[in-house]
């Protein structure tokens, strides 16, 4: 199901393949394959990230002037597709995808010089402090306070659903510096070192039993004002840019295509209740063909938007369409994979998905992460702006309702 590439793109793809073949060692690949989260464990992912960093390919979405490889949209897409196809570890992208572009846009020269090179080498692991118990999709209601104290801020409050906070060493955070005016107007964007005294991280377990999310508590945490990005009370503007970047910048479809191809392989092996190969069963084939079409439609929609992004256009509200398509089609793909592995979806052995374990999963390898990935995937229509928020944005800004 691949469309033809031009020779220079073919050559680029070969270069990527060669690099992956050499540097994505067997142990990294195995550790990545047994995990079902939106990220691989920090050790495996970190190793792979640093190898990419050495090559200059970690911040693969950055232009040259920021210290990235300066790839065009198609090259980025090829890179993502190749990584997805071989099941490379899913790296914590908070650095190169989220905070990096933002520091480049709003940061001081000093901040740029310090952070950007560190991000391209994966010297830090970042987490995002946005949501709070009373401010999820309605982010602007956030209550975590930062009070000015000379050259410092003193921070008190709590953040929730913080992915990877238990191993991140840095956090970018929205905090309230004023309660006057509209609630959007009193917010400031700051960077916090996670080893600053007064920070406590508590785990939140996922449906699948995996630990990925956390609640973070700030108790009189003192940070220097030089850690502020942008002006005081301008944090909402900063964050909004990032939210659109998050919605628009992530490609869902390389991963979805890899999943579909894995479903096709499974359906060639597994048999239906009536004994025929699953791939020959009318219902299953129909469901698979439907998803192939949906993924292809999502792919071209994504590519259109990436072309816009590459031309320097802000995708704006239309990025809601890619988010909706990518995340909702993704859940349907995960559901079909559950159907494909049938009974093997049922065993519950989270230990078998921990690198270096010796717990044997009672089924084929391709069924190992299926259920956990399905359950973890429920979050994809909730984070980075829930489906409901996306629909509301579309209705308001695109349909002007």
């Amino acid at each position: 199901m691949e469309l033809a590439l031009k020779p220079e793109d073919e050559a680029f793809r070969q270069e990527v393949r060669d690099f992956i073949a050499e540097h994505l060692t067997e142990d990294l690949r195995t550790n990545a394959a047994i995990q079902a989260s939106v990220r691989t464990d920090p050790e495996t992912a970190g190793t792979w990230a640093r190898r990419l960093g050495e090559k200059g390919w970690l911040a693969y979405n950055w232009p040259k002037e920021m210290g990235g490889p300066g790839w065009n949209v198609l090259q980025r897409y090829i890179f993502e597709s190749e990584c997805a196809a071989v099941g490379a570890p899913l790296i914590n992208s908070m650095g190169y995808r989220m905070i990096g572009p933002l520091i480049a846009k709003f940061g001081t020269e000093e901040q740029k010089n310090f952070y950007l090179p560190r991000i391209t080498r994966h010297d830090d692991s970042w987490c995002q402090g946005y949501s709070e118990p009373g401010a999820g999709s309605d982010l602007a209601s956030l209550q975590t306070r930062a009070v000015s104290d000379g050259d410092d801020y003193i921070i008190n409050g709590t953040k929730i659903w913080t992915t990877g906070a238990h191993y991140a060493n840095r956090c970018f955070c929205l905090v309230r510096t004023s309660t006057e005016g509209k609630k959007q107007e009193g917010i400031t964007f700051v960077l916090i070192d996670m080893d600053t005294p007064g920070i406590e991280v508590q785990p939140i377990l996922m449906l699948s039993g995996d630990h990925e999310l956390n609640q973070v508590f700030f108790d009189n945490v003192r940070i220097p004002k030089s850690n502020r990005i942008g002006e005081e009370n301008q944090g909402w503007t900063v964050a909004k840019y990032l939210l659109e970047f998050e919605r628009g910048g992530v490609s869902y479809t390389p991963g979805l295509k890899a999943s579909l191809s894995s479903i096709r392989e499974i359906a060639n092996i597994e048999r239906s209740d009536t004994g025929e190969r699953l791939i020959d069963e009318a219902d299953f084939k129909q469901a698979l063909a439907k998803l192939e079409v949906e993924v292809m439609a999502a792919e071209f929609t994504e590519k259109k938007q990436m072309t816009d992004l590459a031309r320097g256009k802000n995708p704006g509200a239309k990025s809601s369409i890619t988010k909706l398509l990518g995340s909702e089609v993704g859940q349907r793909v995960a559901e079909l994979k559950m159907k494909a592995v049938a009974h093997y979806a049922l065993p519950f052995m989270p230990e078998s998905r921990v690198p270096g374990n010796n717990v044997e999963f009672p089924g084929p390898q391709y069924a190992l992460t299926t259920t956990a990935a399905y359950l973890n995937g429920r979050a994809s229509t909730i984070y980075a702006g829930s489906s409901e928020v996306q629909r509301t944005i579309l209705a308001k800004q695109v349909l002007e309702l």
């Binding site: 939140i204 449906l207 699948s208 999310l213 049922l346 909730i382």
Partner: protein
């Protein structure tokens, strides 16, 4: 439908509270909870369908369906295991042999735990293809073979087991036996760790030259298969009702979450989009309830329930997972929290879609009526 049996609502409530308190712990320790049967015995649920003269509740089939629905609010796996044991207790009362009544008494007290053993490692949906053999000798029947995906396999010691007495006769050769796991020749096998289903205690066991005395032949060849086929309509019906229970629970969680959020002054969940999505779930619950009630009513009246049960099972297999995920979505990230048990409901819905005839098999069965 409200319970017909006196005070069964109170018993169901007590047991539900107990399950709610322990269900997360059972999942975490990844083991079937034997103590659950003791509690069910205390409450008096293990004699659900056992006649009152034998110390049971003498409940109708409709009440069994209702019990499945109610307790599935907390854990489908738990009530599935419980019903599996009580099925054996009530079936043994039809036996003319005092030893079987003795066993049934012990099942009521949870001194024994019962199960039905039908599927085998290589005969999933095709019941007639089972390989476990029963050979008649002058000392009784000698049984050999393995059973897989058996509910309560972790602890069951009183097993209603199906075996082939004459492979050439196909389904007509299949008989059922009472197997006492405390006797020699019985070996417990692997117990599966099932996501959302540890309380089911599913697993395998093996019979190795197990000698069953003549009186332990429960249904002779030919009749056993018919009995199993009849009881499967019941199973499909109560599994569908269990799906109703899980959906109701998910809907309750989502609506009470929405109200709570409103109380805190945020309007997030007062949005009409959520309300409509949850209204659709309510509508689907009503429709599936109507089907299960109808099937239960037919079974109570001794009428043909093949189609109604298959329809309820098929609809349950198709709507339960989307309905639960709709409720989760309405709860935002909160829906993903382990303590709400919604992930376990999802997993149990997946188990429900396979057990007692998969959704695909139901399509075939209904298709035959088209």
């Amino acid at each position: 439908m409200p319970f017909q049996t006196k005070s069964l609502d109170v018993k169901a409530g007590k047991f539900s509270d107990y399950v709610q308190k322990h269900r997360l712990h059972w999942e975490k320790r990844q083991e079937a909870p034997k103590e659950m049967f003791k509690r069910a015995a205390d409450v008096g649920l293990l004699g659900l369908e056992t006649e009152t003269v034998f110390g049971g509740l003498g409940a109708s089939f409709s009440d069994k369906v209702e019990l499945g629905r109610v307790i599935s609010h907390q854990s489908m796996a738990a009530v599935f295991a419980l019903i599996n044991s009580q099925n054996v207790a009530s079936r043994l009362r039809l036996s003319p042999h005092p030893k079987h009544h003795q066993m049934a008494d012990e099942l009521l007290n949870a001194d024994r735990i019962g199960c039905t053993a039908l599927t085998e490692p290589h005969a999933g949906s095709d019941f007639a293809a089972i390989k476990t053999s029963a050979v008649k000798t002058e000392n009784g029947w000698v049984l050999n073979g393995s059973k897989a995906w058996i509910t309560n396999a972790a602890y069951a010691d009183t097993i209603m087991l199906y075996a082939q007495t004459n492979p050439e006769k196909g389904w007509r050769g299949i008989a059922s036996f009472v197997i006492d796991a405390r006797r020699t020749g019985f070996r417990r096998g692997e117990i599966y760790k099932l996501i959302g289903g540890h309380a089911i205690g599913a697993g395998e066991f093996h019979l190795e030259d197990y000698l069953a005395p003549e009186e332990d032949l429960l249904s002779p060849p030919g009749e056993a298969f018919k009995f199993a086929m009849n009881s499967i309509n019941g199973a499909r019906t109560y599994v569908a009702a269990m799906c109703v229970g899980m959906m109701e629970n998910a809907l309750e969680l989502a609506t009470s979450y929405a109200k709570q959020r409103q109380t805190f002054g945020t309007e997030l969940l007062s949005h009409q989009g959520y309300r409509w999505s949850l209204s659709d779930v309510a509508t689907q619950i009503a429709a599936l309830s109507a089907l299960t009630d109808k099937a239960a009513h037919l079974i109570d009246g001794g009428e043909d329930a093949v189609l109604a049960a298959a329809m309820a099972k098929k609809m349950a297999g198709e709507i339960t997972i989307p309905a639960i995920t709709a409720c989760m979505q309405a709860m935002g990230a909160h829906g993903l929290r382990e303590e709400h048990f919604l992930g376990q409901h999802l997993a149990a819905a997946k188990i429900a879609a396979f057990t007692d005839g998969s959704t695909e098999m139901m399509k075939e069965r209904i298709g035959a009526y088209l």
